[in-house]
Amino acid sequence: MSADLLHASAEAIGRSVVAKERSAAEVAEFFLGRASRTAERLGTYLHRDPERTLDAARAVDRRIAAGETLSPLAGVPVALKDNLCTRGVPTTCGSRILEGYRPPYDAHVVERLREAGAVSTGKTNCDEFAMGSSTENSGYFPTRNPWDLDRVPGGSSGGSAATVAAREAPLALGSDTGGSVRQPAAFCGVVGLKPTYGAVSRYGLVAFASSLDQIGPFARNARDTALLFNAISGRDARDSTSRAEAKPVMLDEVERGAGGLRIGLPRDLIGEGLDPEIGAALDRVARSLEGAGARVLDVSLPHAKYSIATYYLIAPAEASSNLARYDGVRYGIRKPGRDLIDMYGATRGAGFGREVRRRILLGTYALSAGYYDAYYLRAMKVRTLIRKDFSDALARCDAILLPTTPTPAFRLGEKVDDPLAMYLNDIFSIPASLAGVPALSFPAGFSKSALPIGLQLVGRPFEEATLLRIARAWESIEDVTDRVPPLVEDGARA
């Protein structure tokens, strides 16, 4: 039974719960048991409440007993990134400034998951306010990569990616602003989807950069990713930027194979700095897909090279405004000061970490009178060009294949003092964020040092199904989803 659950897909778990072959409570107990052995070592959770998780699971069992028809995610544990608001449950975004803060409302996705019968395992660790690529910027503690505890799990949704990789939960939600779902998915060897901007309501997602933020699912395979995406996507009247075009992904569609699809390789972007093992993985996957009937062609994203510069103007600009509300007046921590301004300074100085302060300053500068045109406005123009690059390229192909990251997971502490090196890690993920198009990272195999390698697929707006279809086709060629991190084997033995 335990081994069953360890390897079972979310889909299989959900179906068995709906079929009353096992109870949601049993499932919850199994994953809570696993987390109790590994979560602390990995630093995956900022907040766990096993009793609450069990209560939620029992509630699902009661609903099923009462004859309610639940979704295929019934009784499936899902971990939530700590920047998703959960009513009465601590939500800190990994920041000291929100220490002890409990929202009075649930995020849209949290409501949707509860309706679907999914069960929350807790709130996962992340870079403070989702700003970072390693989860080392958490205001509390870093998360470790389950495949190598000396390495980072990526970020900012490192806790969510690691908890799925470590089999503490079959599914998790993260948020992706410039790669915060895809990059940790790649580092941890799981699937991570950044949906089309507008596909998932942001209501209740604590904002980092509003025009880029999207909530996205983590899972171990494409089908589970589709199920979780379906559970959270669709138009929500409380988010004016959410769109009615967002439609569920049909599992039949996911199973259609790669035959007849055109896959574009953006050669101009994939160049120097790329780890040779990742380059080799890219070639291998491309050839395999070709073998499965896809056509691989070269496409061009001429402005993608300006992505990082563009992103680091737009995202901090929006962040500087979004984070203004943490002023010590109404919630979160407050540090006393001589006067109002001094209180603001003391509170924000104490509550925000270095990276958050750096980005607030960057963004404030970019929006300042006299600089707005040169920085923010120009960045918005480049963003339009990048968006056009993608629409041009995706007119010639159905999906673009590229690396998720230039290297596999790096070591803890390796880049903390070099923000630029950290930023450059997002070179492949940021372009799709700026364009607002869907992008997916899927496990392509392992490096010689047994670190996961992730590759990325980028598609047309609201065509998440195509990306999942290709990822599923690759899984059927080379399934890496069964491999369990060594740490977890240890944990299972303990």
């Binding site: 604590v206 509003s210 930027t241 002023d327 109404r330 109002l340």
Partner: protein, 496 residues
């Protein structure tokens, strides 16, 4: 000439050499039921922080959703002042820190406002003058900071966020206003338009209408503008007028002494009648405006805009002209009577019922407004309804009763809901015009005043008026004024 008079006279001459240039920024709260970006009530006067939700509290993770009614009200205002309605306008964030601003930014509009241009007509020195508008844009209100008397040495500020998120329009005028008096008239007329549209209640004390003034002066004849200052914190139209007058004199004083005007923001102190520096140009905020990423651009179709135009009520300017023509009353009357939509309706009903527009106008302006000025009643609360007043005016106009009896009836009607015809009988106020009754009164008056009667008989014409007065008094004003003279003459002759 005394030294003081001389100073005064010089001051007057200096003032006359300059021209005041004023632009006003008016913030009007829109009368929507709910706030601009959430469903909370906008009702004024609730207990602090009871009309709030995660959205207007600016809690982490919330998003704004635009209230369509607020857009409609803003567009109605734009159409009423002849502004161009932008097919696409864009919300922007205005960033600044303040405890009553929950998100640390105000959602407003910046480079792409909802309404562009338009104008408001004012009455300046007996002529109509057009004050052009720059723009009207939509934004959210902030909360209110209260500074209660704290304990000794403790500086306490309390924040009430009930007002946070109440929809506002900001109406920005061109610098076309030339005096505090013109500013006053502009505000009166702008408020009148807003109240006619029923989009704002225009209550400056409750803060539903607020005004900042940009003031500069320049020597008459000069076309370039002088350096301007901004005055805030004026809580009535009269205070706007006073503040502009104060600031005009202050600036002229500085220039006359060879000084330079410093660009700054001033705070009007109504108690002292002065304005004090709030912040200098160097301390001015950099609001770091940028397009609000949580809201889509506001796109309005021509069809929708026309459908809003079709719902516009008759506006003060049109109504004034119409009643002036329809009831043949002077412009002045039309202006007084169109002060509010309700007063105009009251007048129109009275005038139609009475069949005499000018007489109806006199009664509404003098008697009805006279009472209302004393009691503070709104026209809706006024106890005499227009059909009753119309009947009264008709009776006077037709000569059925005198104006004097009319006034007595009016007093009775204030307390008694019966119509004037009934009250006339009930209180025996019907005119006396039958020969026998009039002769009886005449006889009594002559008998009671033998001396004056003798004088009249002896040819002293002037004493006759005295006897007429006595007869009117005797009849408590009811005797027909001409017929009683005949009766008196006949009785005097017959009794001789």
């Amino acid at each position: 000439m005394s030294a003081r008079a001389e100073t005064e006279s010089k001051r007057g001459e200096a003032l006359a050499r300059y021209e005041t240039v004023v632009g006003l920024e008016v913030h009007a709260q829109l009368k929507t039921e709910s706030k601009i970006f959430c469903g909370c009530s906008t009702k004024f006067g609730a207990r602090p922080n009871t009309q709030v939700c995660p959205v207007c509290l600016g809690l982490p993770g919330v998003l704004p959703v635009l209230n369509e009614r607020a857009v409609r009200f803003a567009v109605m205002t734009g159409l009423a002042v002849g502004a161009e309605i932008a097919p696409r306008s864009v919300f922007a964030r205005k960033n600044y820190f303040y405890p009553d601003l929950p998100k640390g930014y105000q959602i407003s509009q910046y480079d792409r406002p909802l309404c562009i241009g338009g104008s408001v007509e004012i009455h300046a020195q007996d002529a109509w003058k057009r004050i052009r508008l720059v723009r009207i844009h939509l934004e959210e209100d902030a909360g209110k900071s209260l500074h209660p008397e704290g304990r000794e040495g403790v500086d306490t500020t309390r924040v009430d966020l009930n007002r946070a998120g109440v929809p506002l329009i900001e109406i920005v005028s061109e610098p076309d206003i030339r005096s505090g008096g013109e500013a006053y008239d502009y505000l009166v007329r702008l408020k009148q338009i807003l109240v006619y549209l029923d989009v704002c209640d225009g209550n400056m004390e409750e803060g539903s209408l607020r005004c900042d003034a940009n003031v500069s002066v320049r020597p008459r004849g000069q076309t370039a503008f002088g350096t301007k200052t901004e005055i805030k914190n004026m809580n009535s139209f009269r205070n706007v007028e006073r503040a502009i007058a104060f600031e005009t004199e202050r600036q002229i004083g500085i220039l006359e002494e060879g000084g330079r005007i410093v660009q700054e923001t001033l705070l009007w102190n109504a108690d002292k009648g002065t304005a004090e520096t709030m912040r200098s140009k160097e301390e001015a905020h950099d609001y770091r405006y940028f397009p609000e990423p949580d809201l889509l651009p506001l796109d309005l179709t021509p069809e929708w805009i026309e459908s809003v135009r079709a719902t516009l009520p008759e506006l003060p300017h049109d109504l004034r002209g119409r009643i002036q023509r329809e009831f043949e009353i002077p412009e002045y009357d039309a202006e007084v009577l169109s002060e509010t939509r309700a007063l105009a309706t009251y007048y129109e009903e009275t005038a139609r019922r009475s069949g005499n527009g000018k007489l109806a106008s006199n009664w509404v302006m003098t008697e009805v407004n006279g009472i209302r000025n004393k009691t503070g009643q709104s026209i809706e609360e006024f106890p005499i309804r227009p059909d009753r007043l119309g009947d009264l005016v008709r009776m006077i106009a037709s000569g059925t009763i005198s104006g004097k009896i009319g006034k007595q009836l009016f007093e009775l009607m204030l307390k008694d809901p019966e119509g004037p015809e009934t009250l006339v009988r009930k209180h025996g106020l019907l005119p006396i015009d039958d020969e026998a009754s009039l002769r009886a009164i005449a006889r009594e008056v002559i008998a009671a005043n033998p001396g004056p009667a003798a004088e009249v008989r002896a040819g002293k014409e002037r004493t006759f008026a005295f006897l007429v007065g006595q007869a009117m008094k005797q009849s408590r004003g009811r005797a027909h004024p001409e017929k009683i003279q005949d009766a008196l003459k006949k009785e005097l002759e017959e009794g001789a």
